[in-house]
Structure formats: C-alpha cells, structure tokens
C-alpha cells in the first residue's frame, strides 16, 4: 500500500503524519494517540468517532485521512481539558450527562458545531442535531439538558 506523508492541523497544531493511502481518519487519529476519538461501530452509525472538520462534525470512520489533508481537525481534547474545560464539557458534567462517557466526545463536538450555528437551539433542533449520536446509558434526557445549559451559559458570556 502506498504511503502518504502529509500535514494536518489537529487541535490547533500542525502534525506531520505518514500513513497508508486507505486508512480512515479515525484509525489514523487513534494510532497517532488521539484516543479521545472513540470507535463504536466503524460503519458511521453511532457517532462516537465524530471530529470537527473545519468546524463541521463528521464520522471520522467514514473519511479517508488522505482526503482531508491540510484541513482543520478538532477532537474533544481540542475544545478543552480537565485543567481548562470548555463550557460545553462543563455543562455535560453539571447536567449529569456523562455516564460511561464513551459517546461523550462525539456528543460534545456535535454540540459545539450546533451552538456555533445556532446559539439558542430549540429542544427539537438539539434532538435533530444529535440524531447520529447513539447513547445507551442516559436515555438522552440529561444530554439534551446539557446542551441547553451550555447554550444558556455561552449566550450569557457572549
């Protein structure tokens, strides 16, 4: 298999990677240590592997790494950390939206993309935005509440 050497913009940093031409973005990111991107199904049906690609959420298991060279990739670790959490991450904590936490990175990133476009979404808009993200632990109740809480807090602080 042909190998490609290329640069990606990941979480604000330039990362040079060498990878086989047919590797998915999910596999490449995880192999490179970005294990906050979770693999739940490898078929684009669960949303655990969502990353933001130039700000838009994609299932990274459905994207060839070679097709996104040079694009800006954001994982959940790029939004914030335990030392400096993003308001969306903090809202997920405060609303009790994190149970096992496996779907959480994808949920948080989809929320970030939603709120960037629509700062005060309705409940229906939240549900539609999260349609591609499965969670088996929470019944989604507290995830929806977390998105609303994040929206309110972010609106309050501009």
């Amino acid at each position: 298999m042909q190998h490609i050497n290329a640069e990606f913009q990941i979480n604000g940093k330039t990362v040079l990677m060498s990878f086989p031409a047919d590797i998915t973005l999910l596999d490449l990111l995880r192999q490179a240590g970005f294990t906050e991107v979770k693999a739940g199904c490898h078929t684009g049906q669960c949303g655990a592997c969502v990353v933001l690609l130039d700000g838009r959420p994609v299932n990274s298991c459905q994207v060839f790494a070679a097709s996104v060279i040079g694009k800006e990739i954001t994982t959940v670790a790029g939004l914030g950390s335990v030392h400096d959490p993003h308001p969306i991450q903090q809202a997920f904590v405060d609303a009790g939206a994190v149970q096992c936490g496996f779907c959480t990175p994808g949920m948080v990133l989809v929320t970030a993309a939603l709120l960037a476009e629509n700062s005060l979404p309705t409940e229906e808009e939240i549900k539609q935005a999260l349609d591609g993200n499965l969670c088996r632990c929470t019944g989604y109740v507290k995830i929806i509440a977390a998105v609303k809480l994040a929206a309110e807090r972010m609106a309050d602080h501009g």
Binding site: V93, Q99, K127, Q128, R136, T138
Partner: protein
C-alpha cells in the same frame, strides 16, 4: 431523617470531566509498543463438525504470528458466565471446539503483527465443515428427533437439573397451595402465551481485552469487564495459568448492561500472550458483538390466572420456555429470576405454580442483561394485571394498590426461588409502591386520559397504560463486596474497592458514602477500583448489587477509619474518646473546647506518637435483598393507518430507598427506560433460514436515538431501607422492566387490541387492528 452533607446530593460524577475531556483511558486506548493484534474466525454454519482445519497457508503469511484453535488449545470445559463460584451455569463451553453450535461460534483466533495481517490470516484459513442438522425451534428442542448440541462431558457444577441429552440446559419448578382448586374457585380465568425476542445490550464501547507482561513476567489483563475477580479466576481455570501470575485491571468501561459480565475475550488474549510472550489485543467488531457475544434470552411464557369477581387472584400458573442458544450461560439463574423477581410482587396469591425450562438451540447465546429475566416475566405479568383489573371493573392503579406486597410482609417465593438454588426468606422493611403508583398516575394524567381514546387527528388515537415491578438488591448470602481505606497526611483518604464502575457512577456513589461518614469534601476521597492486585475482592457489577452491598462495605470501612481517627485524636488532644466527635475535616472535643484537624491527626499518627497507619478494611454480605419498586406509565399515540406506535410521554416513579446521588439515580432510570422502550418497539434479532443473524449493525438493528425520545419524567419517591447504607436500595436494573408491558397496555387502551409478542412493530399492530375490524364486522 438525619440531614446529610453528601448522601442525597447530586455531586458531579468524579470521572465526568475527564471523560468529557477525553483524557480517561478505555481498554482500547492503551498504546502499547509492539502489541500483537488479532482477528476472530467464526463459524458461518449454525451446527457443524469441523472435519479439517488447515492453517498452513495462513501461518505462512507475512505478519501472522500464531493461530489458536482446537488443534493447539486444551479443551477445558467451563462457563463464560462471570458468576460467583461454583457457577450456577453449566460447564458446557470450550474456548475452541471441533463442533460449532451457532453461526458466530468461535473457530480460531489469528494473532499477527497488525490487524490487517490478522484479517488476511483469517481469510487464508481453510475449514472443512460437515454440516449437522440445526435446531432452531426451542419448542422442538426436547423432542427425541431433535438434534443434540452437547454430547460430551458437559455437566452442571452445582446440584441442578441439567440434561443435555434432550437439550435441557436448566429447569426450575415451585408450587404452593392447590392451583387446580384455585382455578376451580375462579370467577374468570385469563390464559395467554407471550413471546419475547432476542435483544442486544448495545453498549457503545465494543468488547475488548489486552494482555501484557510486567517486568517480572506476570500477566496483566486490561479488559472491558463487569467482573474483574471472576475474570481472573476463569482465565486461570481455562488457560491453566496460576492465579497468582494474573492481574486483571478494569479501566473506564463504555457501558455493560450485563454484556460484559461474560468472560469471553480474557482467556483468548491471555493464552495468545502466554504463547507468544508478547502483548496481545483483541477488540470485537460491532458485528461480532451482536453475533458472538451474548444476548437477552428470548422466552415464551404461558401465564394463566384465575380471579374472583373482585379480581383477587385465586390461582396463578406461569410456565416459561427460555431459549439459551448454543450455550447455557446464565440459563438457570435468568430462568429462576423470571419467577423470583415477579411472583413476590403479588404475595397474596395462595395457589401458585411456576415451571420454567431453558433449552439449547443453534442460535446466539443468551446471557446476563439488565433486568435478568424479570423483564421477560413482567411483560406477561403486567398485561395480565391489566386484563384482570378491567374484567373486575377496578381501575388498574387501584387494583395494583390492593394486591401488591407491602412493608412488613413476605412472600414464600423469596425462600423457594433463589438464583439457581433455594433463596433466602425475607420480610420487607421498605415498600413505597403505593406512593409510586399515586404520583406516577398523577404525572401521566391517568384520570384525564385513561379510556378516553383522545384523538388529535384523523386515524390517530391515544391511550395510557401502566406497569408495576420490583427487582432485588444483590444476591443474598452470595454477593460479597469489600473495601479498604487509608488516611494521608493532608486529611485525604484513599478508597480501594473491588466494585466495578462500568459507567454507572459507582466510584462516585461509594466515595460519597465514605465522605459522608468522614465529613470531608468528595475530592478528599481518592477512589481506586477494580484492580485484582490493588483492591479487595468484589463480585463485580451485576444483580443491582453495588450500592447496597459494596456501599455497605464502604460504610463499615469508613466507620472503622473514623474510630481510628477518634482514638488518635484522643491521644493528640489528651481527651476522652467518648467526648470526641467528627465534624468537617476535624475532630472536636465536645466538653473541653479543643479540636484537631484531620491533617494534624494524620501527621500525629504517621510521624509522632505510637506511630501507625490509619487504615481499615471491611467486607459485606447481605442476608436479604430488599427489592426496589417502580410504577411506570406510558402515553402512546397510535397511527391506525400504519400501525405505528409512538410513546408521547413516559413516567417512572421509583422507590429505591434513599438515593445516594439523585442525579445519577435519575440517569439510571432514564437510560433503562429508553432501552426498555426501544426493546418494546423495535429491537429484535432477525435470522435467515440458516440461522445467521441478518441485522448485526446499528443500521439494521435499530436502537433509539435522540429524535425518538418521548417526554420522560422520573420521580424518586422518598423512601428509606433500614438495612441499606444510609437507607439505600438498588436502581440499576428495575426501570427496564416496565416499558414493554406499559406500552402494550396503553395500546390496548387506545385501540382495544392486545399484542402478546415483542417487539410491538407497526406490522404486528396493523395486523392486530385488521383482525379486530374483521372480528367486529363478523359480529354485526
């Protein structure tokens, strides 16, 4: 009731932020240089004998390191059910066998330098199968003509009915009073046959395990397990590796729901690592999780009730046939639970007969799944209650209030039916089911909606239905949990528990219990859980046991620590220990105005006088299993044209004793409810004629996503269980039981049709509506 500082407070889950930030490690997140990857070869046939397995071509491939199969792995009969020892599940499973018993059964494991090489290895293995007649119909399993699945040395480990010569994996029977006389006395009888389906847990994290060696050559297994200590025991048993050379570590787990109570992958990675002396990883694909891990046992339940004119049940007969698939994992205990967790609820039934059988078929394997048989049993039981109360002319909430078990009452079933053996008698010290029913009915708007058939538009009609259920809190006199603690010189504490947080928040719950006793902030309790080298034993995360059993162990342990703190403080302050009491972060002399901070006390004990480590351990086994109770209510809207059933609103009112953390408690209920609704309406394994699962993906096996949610209301009823830590019972499983019967009862309320088979698909509903129309036409 005592005012608490931590108990009953919705403190943030201690790992929530790290999970939301992505910095926690799940099993597959460990980056280990030089780790070998693997791929599974599974059987395409439901029932076959392997005539020849030729691995030469595969072994010659670049990157392939080893291939495990029956040819080079010892045949050790065991059960993959991660239960206490001796296990109540039959020893009927080998890691690899010459005979394959379902499409998805394991044939070989390829170990290679990369996942790609392992997959190429799988492709290159040549297997010659001799096809055997498959058995798919559980109803035919015991017939003399039926093919037999287990013809070797398979046996039960405990005294239980196990007769593989007619495919019988388990049988349970209890009887009280005189059912025949009870039916003869009845004013009316209802007898129906209910069917429940194969279903998957669908934890978002697929099953995974990895094994590596430490510097001294001990094997370290990091795995997605609910049962680290059982996993260690079973790996040692199956692989012949001494137990002292195995360490099992549970990292963060991406959901379990019973699916990770099964020890399937751990022996495989252990053996592969033991043979190659290199680290090995195995991660199941989503398809493999669906097909080759474990499922909810499908059941056929025949339920017959006789009742007098007022609806008092004069006799009840429940007969169950459970399909355990190719292996008997959890067969006996799930089967027992169908009766044990359902029948005590109506404890005034004097004449009762419960008879269950679990049989083998050449289909995927059953296992533990949240609800554990109660889910199947309650689907039948609560529809029956709806029918009886309607015929007796009593509103169902009132009917349930009249007959359910109460505080200070017992049921003969508790003693008669345990998990695979006799149970333990108990008298209830808490039951707030009346309040659950009352508050739940009010929240759904029962009075305004029941029997009204409200119609918001053409072809659309609404109805409401309800269900009541109980579960248990651990397995009495079986489940044991232990905890250890030590104090640090800043007044913080390390808490070590074997209990297994699989996403439920049990690390947080247990920390809150310790923080309550010791009166420190939650961050001062540093939790380390589920590491067989570092933490004491715990049976693990199952049977709704962690808060009640492991929580009680933590409570005992923290109280011992508090006692040591007091005695050290007495030395430090020159006080009489009897005058000392614990307040926030310090000990106070209540007679003489003196006090010492925790840090000061810890430093005194560690460095200054009669030095010792303030530390303690405690174990807990319960002599009872106080049931939590729940009343659940569904409002549905039926589209008569398509048969589509939509849940508009779902209310759960639960008595789980004192919730240690209300937010996490609600989370348990909400998650279980949506799983239960999804199970009721759309989840189902589909098989082709060869017994292969046709829908092993999230695309074809639909589980509910956010737009499918109804409005959900969760009410935590004020309750206190005197035997539980700070009054707590359990909440992990119970809420999954009610959605299916509540929705089925709501469908009847809306349209007068009753469905006895799950899931309640549009097609099934539509056919029932058509049959009703034709019946009505014939009457006219």
């Amino acid at each position: 009731m005592a005012e608490h500082t931590h108990v009953g407070k919705s403190e943030a889950k201690i790992d929530a932020l790290s999970l939301a930030a992505g910095s926690e490690k799940f099993c597959d997140d460990y980056q280990i240089p030089g780790i070998l990857e693997t791929a599974l070869l599974t059987s395409p046939h439901a029932h076959a004998e392997i005539v020849d397995l030729d691995t030469r071509e595969a072994e010659a491939l670049e990157g392939v390191v080893d291939i495990l199969s029956y040819q080079n792995v010892d045949a050790v009969l065991h059960t993959s059910a991660g239960q206490g020892f001796p296990e109540p599940s039959p020893y009927d499973d080998l890691l690899f066998d010459r005979r394959v018993r379902f499409a998805g059964d394991l044939v070989a494991l390829v170990v290679a330098e990369s996942r790609e090489a392992a997959l190429r290895g799988v492709e290159a293995i040549r297997v010659e199968y001799k096809l055997l007649e498959p058995l798919f119909d559980p109803e035919a399993a015991e017939s003399p003509e039926a093919p037999r699945l287990h013809v070797g040395e398979e046996h039960a480990k405990i005294p239980a009915v196990y007769e593989p010569d007619h495919n019988l994996a388990a049988e349970v029977e209890i009887s009280f009073g005189d059912p025949a006389a009870g039916f003869a006395d009845a004013a009316f009888c209802e007898e129906h046959v209910y069917h429940t389906q194969y279903a998957a847990h669908c934890a978002l994290e697929p099953h995974a395990a990895l094994a590596r060696f430490d510097a001294r050559g001990r094997l370290e297994i990091i795995t997605t397990t609910q049962v680290p200590f059982h996993a260690r025991r079973i790996v040692s048993q199956v692989c012949g590796i001494p137990l002292h050379r195995i360490r099992v570590i549970k990292p963060r787990i991406g959901g379990g729901f019973g699916g990770k109570q099964e020890v399937i992958l751990e022996p495989l990675v252990a053996l592969a690592a033991w043979r190659s002396k290199r680290p090995v990883r195995l991660v199941m694909s989503r398809r493999e999780v669906f097909v080759s891990s474990r499922t909810r046992h499908p059941m056929r339940i025949r339920l017959k009730t006789g009742a007098d004119a007022e609806g008092r049940i004069t006799a009840l007969e429940m007969e169950g046939l459970m399909n355990t698939g190719a292996y008997g994992s959890h067969a006996l205990t799930v089967l027992s639970n169908v009766g044990a967790k359902v029948l005590p609820l109506f404890n005034k039934i004097e004449n009762l007969h419960f008879h269950g059988k679990a049989v083998y078929t050449n289909l995927p394997v059953g296992g533990a799944y949240r609800g554990y048989g109660a889910t199947q049993g309650y689907f039948a039981f609560n529809q029956q209650l709806d029918m009886i109360s309607r015929r007796a002319g009593v509103d169902m909430p009132e009917y349930c209030r009249r007959w359910h078990i109460r505080e200070k009452e017992t049921s003969e079933v508790f003693q008669a039916l345990g998990e695979g053996k006799e149970g333990v008698a108990q008298v209830l010290s808490s039951c707030c089911l009346d309040e659950c029913i009352e508050q739940g009915a009010q929240a759904i708007g029962w009075q305004e909606k029941r029997g009204r058939r409200l119609s918001p538009g053409a072809d659309r009609v609404r109805g409401v239905g309800m269900a009541i259920c109980m579960q248990g809190s651990g397995i009495p006199l079986v489940d044991m949990g232990a905890a250890a603690m030590k104090m640090n010189e800043d007044g913080s504490f390390n808490l070590y528990v074997g209990a297994t947080d699989i996403g439920t928040g049990s690390d947080t719950i247990l920390a809150q219990i310790a923080a309550e006793v010791l009166q420190v902030d939650l961050e001062k309790i540093i939790v380390l859980s589920s590491d067989t080298d570092l933490t004491p034993f715990d049976v693990g995360a199952y049977a709704s046991s962690t808060t009640y059993i492991s929580g009680a162990a933590v409570l005992k342990c923290a109280r011992k620590i508090a006692g040591q703190i007091i005695s050290a403080a007495a030395g430090l302050l020159g006080s009489d220990p009897a005058d000392l009491k614990i307040e926030k972060n310090r000990v106070k002399d209540t007679r003489r105005k003196r006090e010492a901070g925790y840090a000061e006390i810890a430093v005194y004990a560690l460095y200054q006088h009669d030095q010792f480590q303030i530390q303690a351990q405690a174990s807990h086994v319960a002599g009872e299993s106080p049931p939590p109770f729940i009343a659940q209510f569904a409002e549905v809207e039926l589209d008569r044209a398509s048969g589509r059933l939509r849940v508009l609103k779902f209310v759960s009112a639960v008595d789980c004793g004192q919730p240690i953390n209300p937010q996490l408690t609600e989370g348990q209920v909400e998650g279980a409810v949506l799983n239960g609704i999804s199970y009721a309406l759309c989840e189902e394994y589909l098989f082709n004629r060869q017994g292969r699962m046709r829908n092993p993906s999230f695309g074809d096996y639909k589980i509910y996503s956010p737009p499918d949610m109804p409005e959900m209301v969760t009410i935590l009823i004020d309750s206190h269980e005197s035997s539980g830590p700070f009054g707590a019972k359990s909440v992990g499983e119970i809420a999954i039981n009610g959605p299916a019967p509540a929705i089925a009862n709501a469908l009847y309320d809306a349209a007068g049709v009753r469905l006895f088979s799950l899931p309640l698909t549009p097609e099934r509903v539509w056919r029932a509506l058509r049959a009703l129309r034709e019946e009505n036409k014939a009457k006219r």
